[in-house]
């Protein structure tokens, strides 16, 4: 770069700087707003930095799996030995056709008894 180049480049630089000074008020105002939004976002991130563990979304599926497994183990060992009440209920709920039978169980028992007597 010679002296001539320097003066040529400086002239362009002056013009470019003039261009930035001539930005319309609306654009300048938007730039200011964008700057403040970026700084606010940075502060929010700084505030939550200590809670990284809790807001790292990728951890939640793992935690949910571990939690479910722990709950299953807890329920299994809480059930008295030899008693499995939930499984009976599941049978009832799964077979919709038999629901009436279970509800009218006493009636059918009486009917069977009556037929046997008769």
């Amino acid at each position: 770069m010679n002296e001539d180049d320097h003066s040529f480049i400086n002239k362009i630089k002056r013009d470019l700087n003039d261009g930035t000074q001539q930005l319309d008020a609306a654009t300048q105002s938007r730039l200011t707003r964008l700057r403040h939004e970026a700084l606010d976002a940075g502060e929010r991130q700084g505030f939550f930095a200590g809670f990284n563990f809790w807001y790292s979304a990728y951890r939640w599926p793992g935690l949910a799996t571990v939690g479910t497994a722990a709950l299953a183990v807890f329920l299994y060992f809480q059930t008295p030995a030899g008693v499995q009440p939930y499984f009976e209920d599941l049978d009832l709920l799964a077979s919709e056709d038999q629901l009436e039978l279970y509800e009218e169980l006493e009636f059918y028992a009486w009917l069977a008894e009556d037929e046997a007597d008769g």
Binding site: M1, D5, F8, I9, K11, I12, K13, D15, L16, D18, G19, T20, Q21, Q22, L23, T27, Q28, R30, L31, T32, L34, R35, E37, A38, L39, A41, G42, E43, Q45, G46
Partner: protein, 181 residues
């Protein structure tokens, strides 16, 4: 980041106008330029706000140039799909005759350089530079970054920076022959 806020605010205020103009030169669109500046500010504040202040400037312009390059890539892909799609349609199918009329406010780049207004002339010439030359010129001449800083900003070798910058100055000299005198 909280302690850095006043310094970051001052730094961003000092570069935001030039960053916007650089993005505007590159994209030719105000809204796109504002989006690019916004993304650049966010990345700098979130990822590099804790870095030493001396590193902010090259980092900021590196992020800016990356976003501008991404914008170019997206536009290239979009244009490719657009031309592929329009190839399936007949030429006179959806041709809007009004869209074919010349824009009364638009000016051909070559005619723009002949404009009497100094600023408009320089801006028109800078817009004609290829993107990499434009970036090298902005970083070296406008931001006064060193060759090595510009190389970091543009993610290329120092030799490449020198080549792009030299070609940019040469092209501008040719385009602004009348403007120099």
């Amino acid at each position: 980041m909280r302690n850095h806020r006043p310094a970051l605010d001052e730094f961003l205020a000092s570069v935001e106008r030039r960053a916007f103009r650089m993005a505007q030169f590159a994209t030719g669109q105000t809204e796109e330029a504002l989006d690019i500046v916004q993304d650049t500010m966010l990345v700098l504040v979130r990822r590099y706000g804790d870095k030493p202040e001396a590193e902010w400037k090259p980092l900021f312009f590196r992020i800016l140039q990356n976003h501008i390059r991404d914008w170019y890539r997206r536009r290239t892909v979009r244009n490719r799909w657009h031309s592929f799609w329009s190839g399936w349609q007949s030429a006179d199918d959806n041709e809007d005759p009004i869209a074919q009329l010349p824009d009364p406010q638009g000016t051909h780049p070559e005619k723009q350089t002949l404009a009497t207004d100094s600023l408009a002339t320089v801006e028109a010439a800078v817009k004609q530079l290829p993107l990499r030359q434009q970036q090298a010129f902005f970083m070296r001449a406008w931001e006064e970054l060193s060759v090595s800083e510009t190389a970091i900003t543009m993610q290329c070798s120092e030799g490449t920076v020198k080549t792009h910058y030299s070609r940019a100055v040469h092209t501008l000299r040719n385009l602004l022959k009348d403007h120099e005198s």
